[in-house]
């Protein structure tokens, strides 16, 4: 299967900036004019597969691109969105950080309807989340004080494999 994003990178179509690991592109299917993408150069389906150091760099590039959109387009705001998996609306099998310029009365609608859960539900979620968050930090980030990006081997859990399988269904 050929990935459109990989092809765009290879053919250097709409490239704004690139590093060894990260490429910023004009979005091929923009929500509004000025919509740009930050993607890992290497093909990864979801953000969880991307090595930490590369994710960090993606965020840095995305943030600077936000500034580029503020300055270059004079927009009044920006959204940065990673749709991770099909239920999140991910439409290409190459993970991407979307940076979208925003202006008053534009056509973009990315807001959600807030829900209200009861205290019991919230407490149960808090417990589970805390547990997972504590495991995560230890496994993936053994030296949190170090500023240097870590090199690490990626291990996929079952959940991620599920995500991957569903992404492969994307035509």
């Amino acid at each position: 299967m050929t990935c459109e994003i990989c092809q765009q990178i290879e053919k250097k179509i709409g490239v704004l900036i690139e590093t060894k690991e990260v490429v910023a592109l004009i979005a091929p299917k923009p929500a509004v004019t000025g919509h740009v993408l930050v993607v890992p150069r290497e093909h990864h389906a979801i953000l969880e597969q991307v090595p930490d150091a590369v994710v960090g760099q993606m965020m840095t590039v995305a943030n600077r691109l936000s500034i580029v959109l503020f300055e270059g387009l004079g927009c009044q705001g920006t959204n940065m969105i990673v749709p991770n998996g099909i239920p999140a609306g991910q439409s290409a099998p190459h993970t991407a950080m979307h940076i979208i310029p925003r202006n008053e009365n534009d056509e973009v609608n990315v807001l959600w309807k807030p829900k209200q859960l009861n205290e019991e539900e919230m407490s149960a979620i808090e417990l589970k989340m805390k547990e997972e968050a504590s495991k995560m930090g230890k496994k993936e980030e053994p030296a949190p004080k170090k500023e240097a990006p870590k090199q690490e081997v990626l291990q996929l859990s079952d959940e991620e494999n599920y995500l991957l399988k569903s992404l492969k269904r994307i035509p």
């Binding site: 704004l16 690139e18 590093t19 994710v55 691109l65 500034i67 705001g77 940065m80 749709p83 925003r102």
Partner: protein, 214 residues
């Protein structure tokens, strides 16, 4: 505390202004432990709590402890760390909620949907058929329009990133397609958070954060 007039606020130094914002900020109070929150993660720079009005169950708010309004104000090493943490918390949310995906969401500015004066990164667990929305519409862009946009943005890209590329990866020498002459990004590009304060260059960012002082 006496009522502040608009004039008072105008005359404040950036430090005073920040102190005032901090004083009134709910999220700063969470950071300080003055307001209770369902904390799920904390380190020296960041705090993650459950959103009390979630888009879906398990909606996490990840925030820098320092009071900043929009991401361009965050020092770059922390921006990088924010990226890594959002990946890790997304993983945690996937597992904890048995979710099938996540939406990672940032709004810089009122018009982007920002509601709080303290910068927040949202991590929203997703499942098939949830009604959270946040779907990006996809339109077509002609080759010439894409080219025009690229031409428009490139000078700004070069300014913000410096003439050379490779913003953050120290261990990766990289040869860019053009001008491989020098490797230091301009000091401007290094510290976007600082350059906006003294100079008038970043008027747009000033406007973006303006509502926060009202």
């Amino acid at each position: 505390m006496p009522e502040l007039t608009e004039e008072d606020i105008k005359n404040m130094s950036p430090e005073e202004l920040r102190a005032l914002q901090k004083e009134q900020c709910v999220f700063c109070k969470m950071v300080e432990g003055k307001i209770q929150a369902r904390k799920v993660f904390e380190d020296e720079n960041f705090l993650a709590v459950l959103d009390i009005n979630p888009a879906t169950p398990g909606h996490i708010l990840l925030m820098p402890k320092e009071h900043i309004s929009i991401l361009p104000q965050l020092p770059e090493p922390l921006v990088q760390k924010l990226g890594v943490l959002s990946k890790h918390l997304s993983q945690a949310a996937l597992k904890a909620m048995k979710a099938e995906g996540t939406t990672i969401f940032v709004a810089n500015g009122l018009v982007a949907g920002q509601r709080a004066a303290h910068f927040l990164l949202h991590i929203i667990p997703r499942k098939e058929g949830d009604d959270a929305g946040i779907t990006l519409e996809e339109t077509d862009i002609s080759e010439s329009d894409a080219q025009k946009l690229q031409d428009n943005l490139l000078p700004f890209v070069h300014r913000v990133f410096g003439s050379q590329k490779a913003p953050t990866s120290p261990a990766t020498p990289h040869s860019p397609p053009a001008s491989p002459s020098q490797s230091t990004p301009s000091p401007k590009a290094e510290k976007p958070a600082e350059k906006q304060k003294p100079a008038k260059k970043m008027t747009n960012l000033d406007e973006v954060t303006e509502f926060l002082t009202k």
